[in-house]
Structures are given as structure tokens and as C-alpha cells.
Symmetry: C2
Subunit: 129 residues, 2 copies
Amino acid sequence: MRIGEAAAAAGMTTKALRFYEQQGLLPPVHRGPNGYRDYPPETLARLQFIRRSKAAGLSLAEIRNILQIRDAGQAPCAHVAAQLAQQLTDLDQHIAELTALRTSVAEHYQAASQGDPAQCDAEQICSYL
Amino acid sequence: MRIGEAAAAAGMTTKALRFYEQQGLLPPVHRGPNGYRDYPPETLARLQFIRRSKAAGLSLAEIRNILQIRDAGQAPCAHVAAQLAQQLTDLDQHIAELTALRTSVAEHYQAASQGDPAQCDAEQICSYL
DNA sequence: CGGAACCTTCCTCTACCGTGGAAGGCCACA
DNA sequence: TGTGGCCTTCCACGGTAGAGGAAGGTTCCG
């Protein structure tokens, strides 16, 4: 399978595949006599795993870790579960931060909507921030 | 006021002040005979406005827009209100996306916690993603 | 006079995930 | 033989908000 086919089958670009290889998510692959990459069919499953992992919000670095465990012959499930737990924690914190920020912005917005622009003096730029 | 004093008074670094000047948030400032920047006292209010705006989640580009309006002699309040409204919309969407992702991750995590690693075959890397 | 602490400009680097393009090689079809 | 469509490598760029550091000038204090 050439890179264009593999990319199309996985719903990715050829650029992305080369990038993943460079980043260590795809092992160096066999080349034909013309230098073209020649992917074995099982690469497709790997690419789809990468897709699913990305959809779950994992970074390429985390995905690479998981793949390395699998490539070392071990089941990465425990690691994956830990990673997902971490991901949940991170998401919760991130969401909490954004929610707090939203509250703050909403308060400023309230003030700005109800206030009188004439009270805004040049020195403080804008009284609603 | 020299750059170090101004930075300390505003709780920023000298690097940040030079960067703000370069980005157009601070006007070119008077230099002493030694080339040192010499800030007028009202710069402090401007720096504090930048601080508050950043805390409200505005980008430097948005803050620059507001400052330009003020520097043009107009009250930026209406613009600020619009900016805050946009900010609210963006935050809501961002939070919604993260929340949806959290739900998805939580489902994967549930499966991973309850599942049996032995069922995970090498081909699909990990059945929990 | 010497050293610490300040200032200047300029260049590079950070994280993330690729995308865009240039220059060149290879292959099939008409 | 040409032309279009693949493929190769390598380099640059994007956005965000500065941080880090080099090389050099200045000022303050003892």
C-alpha cells in the first residue's frame, strides 16, 4: 500500500503520515526500489487507533507511549486506563477554569451592558474591565 | 519611571513591557539621553488595564483594539461590551466541546476499568480506545 | 575604581500538529 | 514523447505570549 492509499483509507493526509513516522508513531516502513513507502495492511488498524485516540483527546506523545508499550509486546490497557483517568482530571480542571472565567466575563458584561459610557474616563481606559 | 520600576509596579516583567510596546499596546515612549525608556506615571493605569483585560481572557490583539479606540479619543465601552459578548459565546462553545469530550473520555474510561486486558488483541492496539 | 544591578538590541526557543510549497524523481497512459 | 499524478526530501510557517540569553552600554554605591 502506498502512502496516498493508506492516508485516504485512514482519512488522513500523506503529510500527516510522514509526520507520524517522524514522531515515532509509525515505525520506519519498507521502501520499494523507487524509494516509495510500502505499507503493510495492518498499518491501517494502527492509523485508525491513532484516529480514535486523537478523538479521545490524547496528544501524539501519549499515543506514542501507548503504541510503544504495544510494540514491546505488552497490553497497554492498564496504561491506557491511567491515561484516560489523567485525561479526565485534566479536562475537569480545564472546564472548571473556563467556567470560572465565564462567570467573571459574564459579570463584566453585565456591568458593561447596564453602565453609562460617559462615566468611563480616559485615564482608566474602560471602566468595565 | 524606568522600565524595571514600571514592570514591578504593574506586576509584570521588563520583557513583557517591551513586548507590549512592540505589539502596539504601549506607544513608543520617551527615551532619556542614555537610551533608557522613561515612562510617564499614567502608563501604570494602562498596564493595569492590560492586566485586567488579560484576566478577562482577552487576547493581546483584542486589548490593542480597545486601546486604539481609547487613544483615538473615543470611549471603547460599546466595543468592549461587544468583545465581552463574543468572549462569552466563545467560552460557551469551548466549554461545550470540552464537556462533550469529557463524556466520551469517561465512557472509554468506564470500559477500560471494567474490561479484561486479555481481550485486547495486538492488532487493534487497545480495545478501549 | 570596581562590581552589582540596571538598561539596550537582537536572536532563538517554547508547545502542538501538522500544512504549504519548492525542487526533483518515477510511472502509466495516450 | 508529453503530461498528469503520484512520490521523495527539506525548509518555512502558523498562533500565543512572552522567556532565555548574548553582547554591550550605564549608573549607583562603597
